[in-house]
């Protein structure tokens, strides 16, 4: 793609409908992931988020083979794995990390097994591993708007309960909140968010969409709601940068350029953060323990 001046450079990619859809999808996904990511980061669920992305793989493969909605197939396996992880840790002495390790690798292996039987689908499924946002259709965009909107409404409605559980689960239970339900709900929200984002960002990179904006915000902000606002803005900015980068540099998958934009923002903020930040405090606290 070629352009003449700055304004022209901004406008040219937007003349194409696929790029318009891609930009809109990337921004919506970026904001959704950042909001959910604030809870993920503060509850140390990053590893689970990554695991969920991988665990959704067999669902994606099966849906693709049967011609079903790929996001739906992934969501079923993602949510089932999330509930399975919770179930294993409640029913046995297996730790959370271990239960995740078992299910996440097992599910991903199942996906590869199924995939290897159907070589014809390789191109599409390779796209799912690394993401292909320019392939987003109008109907995919509606899925993102509908599912993402529903998740944001649920988070807004249960905001204070989710915040209290994230901050101090015992006190939340002592106040009579159903922490078990809220925990499963949050895991399910995370699973659905991951699956919605997979088509654009790819299974391998999607965890960064959740974690990096919230992690960057935690370097600067001092209130939970401002963490969400910062994350959403960063999601918007990184999505825009990522789409333009992949529009102008041939062959760069959009998932990688968006995630790279997030990572660059994180590193810049880390270096420029004016004071001893929350993350540094975390490491110091851990050392002190």
């Amino acid at each position: 793609m070629k352009c003449t001046d700055l304004w022209n450079c901004v406008v040219v990619p937007l003349q194409f409908a696929p790029t318009q859809r891609a930009l809109l999808a990337a921004i919506l996904i970026g904001i959704l992931c950042s909001v959910v990511g604030a809870f993920v980061v503060l509850q140390d669920l990053s590893f689970i988020g990554d695991a969920l992305a991988h665990a959704s793989f067999p669902g994606v493969v099966i849906a693709s083979m049967l011609g079903w909605n790929i996001a739906l197939g992934g969501a079923i396996f993602g949510v089932a794995t999330a509930l399975g992880v919770g179930w294993i840790t409640r029913r046995s002495k297996v730790s959370l990390d271990t239960a995740i390790g078992v299910l996440f690798a097992g599910m991903f292996a199942l996906g590869i097994f199924l995939l290897s039987r159907n070589r014809g689908y390789n191109k599409e499924l390779f796209g799912l591993l690394l993401g292909d946002i320019l392939a987003v259709r109008q109907s995919d965009l509606w899925t993102i708007v509908g599912v993402g909107g529903l998740i944001l409404v649920v988070i807004a409605a249960l905001y204070k309960e989710l915040v209290l559980m994230t901050f101090d689960r015992t006190a939340a239970a002592a106040q009579g909140l159903p922490v078990g339900f809220l925990h499963y709900l949050l895991l399910s929200i995370m699973a659905i968010t991951v699956v919605v984002a997979i088509q654009s960002i790819g299974i391998v990179l999607v965890v960064a969409m959740l974690v990096t904006p919230a992690a960057t915000a935690s370097l600067v902000v001092r209130r939970f709601w401002s963490m969400i606002v910062w994350g959403s803005l960063q999601g918007l900015v990184a999505a825009t940068i990522g789409i333009y980068v992949s529009a102008y540099i041939d062959g760069v998958p959009t998932g990688s350029s968006i995630v790279l934009a997030h990572t660059a923002i994180f590193i810049i903020v880390l270096v420029l953060a004016p004071r001893k930040n929350a993350l540094a405090g975390l490491f110091q606290r851990k050392v002190a323990d």
């Binding site: 409605a157 101090d168 006190a171 239970a173 009579g176 939970f224 606290r285």
Partner: protein, 286 residues
């Protein structure tokens, strides 16, 4: 008319027999079939400040969590004569400050306001009255000047007071505190213990677990000595006999009466509980 009057009289009398603020009947807690705490029964009155003592694994924290309904137990728990409802504002909990996610970005006022969340109900935002209760609770613990501070910037004692304020914002009759004077320095311990005394003087019932065995008789109206069962319960000076101390802590502790104070000492090098021996052992963080 006479019959009606006498019935009314009976109805009036029933509530006037004052039920204890907290009554625990035959409470038993099991973990994987293994009893952690067996057959504990006691009553706590309004305005009582009660210390729960015992070695590690004695069931101190389990007792508190069972009263809060956080872990399964058998037996009865009555608050002001009534079986405890699941979402009850009457009993508030102050966790160990080491058990909280201090990375969470929140102001002091945000945290205290969380004490109102359980009562607000689903889909309700805090209202002006809730903010006022939160601010009043902060004043009670003398932390009003810190309302807008970030919780990550607070000292251990200030964190403890903020959590106390969060519990007070719930307007409870009974407060359960898990190791409130652990991980803070001695002057801060004094501040917190004074605060607890003020709260009990105001009519609240406080149950406080502690492994600081100094000045017990000075700080608490009654002691609950636990070691997987209730060893003794009563005023410190009355119950802290050699037999009770040995049954609670084993033989690693000896009782030394001195200057009308009870001093508990640890005469074994392998004494795992580390009771407070000196004034400077308590600054280490958990």
């Amino acid at each position: 008319m006479a019959a009606v009057a006498s019935q009314a009289h009976i109805r009036l009398q029933a509530p006037t027999t004052i039920a204890p603020a907290l009554e625990v009947r035959q409470l038993t807690i099991r973990y994987d079939q293994r009893p952690v705490l067996s057959d504990v029964s006691f009553q706590a009155q309004a305005s009582q400040l009660i210390g729960i003592i015992g070695p590690n694994g004695a069931g101190k924290t389990s007792l508190i969590k069972a009263i809060l309904g956080l872990i399964p137990s058998t037996g009865q728990i009555l608050v002001a004569g009534q079986a405890l409802a699941k979402r009850s504002r009457k009993v508030a909990y102050v966790p160990q400050i080491s058990a909280v996610n201090w990375r969470f970005p929140a102001s002091v006022r945000d945290v205290v306001l969380m004490g109102r969340y359980g009562q607000l109900g689903w889909l309700r935002r805090p209202k002006k009255a809730d903010y006022e209760l939160a601010d009043a609770a902060l004043e009670q613990v003398n932390m009003q000047d810190f309302a807008q501070r970030s919780i990550a910037d607070l000292s251990g004692g200030q964190q403890q007071r903020v959590f106390l304020a969060r519990a007070l914002a719930q307007e409870p009759d009974v407060l359960l505190l898990d190791e409130p004077i652990s991980g803070v320095d001695v002057p801060t311990q004094e501040v917190i213990l004074h605060l607890l005394r003020d709260l009990s003087n105001a009519g609240r019932t406080l149950l406080v677990t502690t492994h600081h065995l100094q000045h017990l008789e000075h700080h608490f109206d009654a002691l609950l000595c636990l070691n997987q069962r209730l060893i003794a319960y009563g005023p410190p000076t009355a119950i802290m006999t050699r037999d009770v101390v040995e049954a609670t802590f084993g033989r690693s502790l000896v009782l030394v009466p001195s200057h009308e104070r009870i001093i508990l000492d640890c005469n074994h090098s392998n004494c795992s509980e580390k009771p407070a021996l000196t004034n400077n052992d308590s600054t280490a963080k958990n």
